[in-house]
Symmetry: C2
């Protein structure tokens, strides 16, 4: 019988795993270039934590992997990296502020499986805990721009602010108690269009004048209505800083509400141009307090690594890990072959040796299939003469070296690496 992966989850075979790793390594480098430090938390958490007020609530049970252990404790697989962060911050009050942490890890959701939606997927998050104000929000935008530009993707970062949107909603005649409901409908604008949202709002008995503002999407017009709202200055500074830094990809978008209730200020969303959303985030100043910690301001951004992988898989080309392939001919050559391979590795060249005892032809076929650039055939002559030739498998050029000259041979390989 053949076994398969669990429904909604997938393997990354080496070709794919290397691309995913490349994306994750790159994101990590960007995160670290801002001084973010890593955090690792378990994949399994107490259900009580996952269902705490402020994030999912009890209803989350239907959307996650929930189970009991043999001691009847209720557990679940984490569905994001924000809830574990809130737990860590709440229970480690000694962490220096700002606490700037990143985490690149898998999360789990029991969604209906569909194209490009997975039940196991990787998130790459940065969060800044303890910093009020727009500078920390802006740093999240910077991280987004660096990641997306670095990966060579055309993209937009759409930004808005929950507080200014709320102020505008109130000016447009939506009552305070209707705002959460109104935002939930506005969030569907992309999916169901203006007509759909208007219909929904009317059914809920909510004033629809705001839709005209959203359609106009004019910062100046919005400003006119809410000039006394303090968050306006924050949003303005965020856009100003983006401009000063040459971030033409950052745009004000009045339609961006972000469904999640826990956002309290700046919100943003990163989308590939004419493509899917690949990241989102915002400020959530109340959440950590709900997890038993002191009320602590926080802001962050989360990338969907699988979305980035799906967008880049076709265009990324990553060579094999092996730089030099060593082919010993005859049992007497293997001992020397192993020594040669070790010498290359010491010189920081990745060396692989034939472990199958195949003939030269078969070995070259294997090296070609793997896309390896250099090969060394080590026969009796070479072992007796204490010498070897490095063959460039693309140009066909060969260069001879003596045993002991592996560091020089390594330079030859590195100098011609594609």
């Amino acid at each position: 019988m053949k076994f398969q992966t669990v429904r909604g989850m997938r393997d990354f075979l080496p070709e794919q795993a290397k691309k995913k790793q490349f994306i994750e390594d790159f994101i990590r480098k960007v995160f670290e270039s801002y001084g973010f430090e890593p955090l690792q938390t378990p994949i399994v958490e107490d259900f009580e934590l996952l269902a705490a007020k402020g994030s999912g609530g009890e209803a989350i049970k239907e959307e996650i992997y929930y189970f009991k252990d043999k001691g009847e404790r209720e557990l679940g697989l984490r569905y994001d990296l924000t809830v574990p962060l809130a737990r860590v911050v709440a229970s480690n009050p000694m962490l220096a502020r700002p606490f700037k942490r990143y985490q690149i890890s898998p999360v789990y959701r029991y969604d209906r499986p569909q194209a490009k939606r997975y039940r196991e997927f990787t998130q790459a998050d940065v969060d800044i805990v303890g910093a009020l104000g727009v500078y920390a929000d802006f740093e999240c935008v910077q991280v987004a721009v660096d990641v997306m530009r670095g990966l060579g993707l055309d993209f937009k970062v759409r930004v808005n602010n929950r507080k200014t949107l709320e102020a505008l909603a109130i000016e447009m005649g939506i009552s305070k108690e209707n705002i959460v409901d109104a935002f939930r409908s506005l969030d569907k604008l992309d999916k169901i269009g203006r007509g759909g949202v208007e219909k929904e709002l009317k059914e809920k008995g909510i004033e629809t004048r705001i839709l005209g503002q959203i359609e106009a999407n004019s910062f100046e017009e919005m400003k006119h209505y809410i000039k006394n709202e303090p968050a306006l200055a924050e949003l303005e500074e965020l856009l100003e800083l983006s401009k000063k830094n040459g971030y033409l990809e950052v745009e004000f978008d009045l339609s961006l509400a972000r469904g999640l209730e826990y956002y309290t200020g700046t919100v943003f969303e990163i989308a590939i141009s004419d493509g899917p959303s690949v990241g989102a985030g915002g400020r959530y100043d109340k959440l950590i307090g709900l997890y038993g910690g002191q009320e602590t301001p926080a802001t962050g951004i989360s990338f969907g690594v699988d979305r980035l992988f799906d967008a880049l898989e076709g265009s990324l080309v990553i060579g094999p890990n092996t730089d030099v392939f060593i082919i010993p001919i005859g049992a007497g050559s293997f001992a020397e072959g192993f020594l040669l391979a070790s010498a290359f590795r010491k010189a920081r060249v990745n060396a692989e040796i034939d472990l199958m005892g195949r003939n030269v032809k078969k070995n070259f076929e294997y090296a070609n299939k793997r896309g390896i650039s250099f090969a060394i055939v080590l026969g009796e002559d070479e072992v007796r003469g204490k010498k070897f030739k490095v063959k460039d498998l693309v140009s066909g050029e060969e260069r001879g070296f003596s045993f002991g000259e592996e560091a020089r041979a390594a330079l030859f390989v590195k100098g011609r690496e594609r």
Copy 2:
């Protein structure tokens, strides 16, 4: 209320996560230097796979995280990386041979929690699929030596061979059907001592003469008894190759049986000198066939990253990700501060900027607490004069630069990095 981690699992706060990452990054580098390629598989697998014959069997249910999803499918969290590998190989017959893959990922066991045993822990595995013979086994030993030497640990790699041990057992009067039972007892030698094992063997009615051989631990004496066993040549060549490569840490150990039934040839175990086992492995030529694939030879080694972490945590020192800390003074300096930080990042220096709007003294305290080496104070004077000074926080030395000279300033920082 305060939430905690699930019983038997732990957070890695930044200080610790960096050390764990360092160990994992280093292991990955060694793996890649041999041409191993990455594989990623889901953490959740079908229970049927986890309980398949050859690995755990149905009894494994008691030792793992087992649960049903909302569709009543039986699932479990993987307890090792070998079973998923066997699944991948069995269902992807087109993968080129040898298939040399590595995976560094968490696994889960529902063990009784105790000191230094965790229910979530990270394994780092390399396996060579498709290669018969001792060369592939030797490569696993090489990987072990490179990892352990590179991490600066004193260690031994103990090696043995299941086939030679079996041949000796038969020569010592143990019947074929008692061998699995006998090895299970021998495997406890470290724990219960010779007396304990002797007692167990006698209770099982198994001949105990082999204990004298194990105590002598003489390769030559063993050879005398089993000179017609073909596996003897393999074991001899493995030890010979180790010697030729100067691996003084590799030792023949006749007591090494390795409890797991699936081993079919070479077995090895890596232990810190006077410390715990941190890795083990061996040849398993029958396992993949049991997962629905063609019978395929395979050999591999698995490191326990948490064991290595526990051994190294006290001695590893890893600096902060931030190289330069930028302190803008006054709201007017932040825009320039963000530009300066970006310029440093472009020059591959990790730059962090104050996001809290704190005064100079508080910012220096924070930089010291984080262990950051360089700081730049950016006040009105600097912004007006378009210049900045980089201060070495250890020596106190300062060096001045103009805006636009960030690449030179970056060289100054990199040249003095500790």
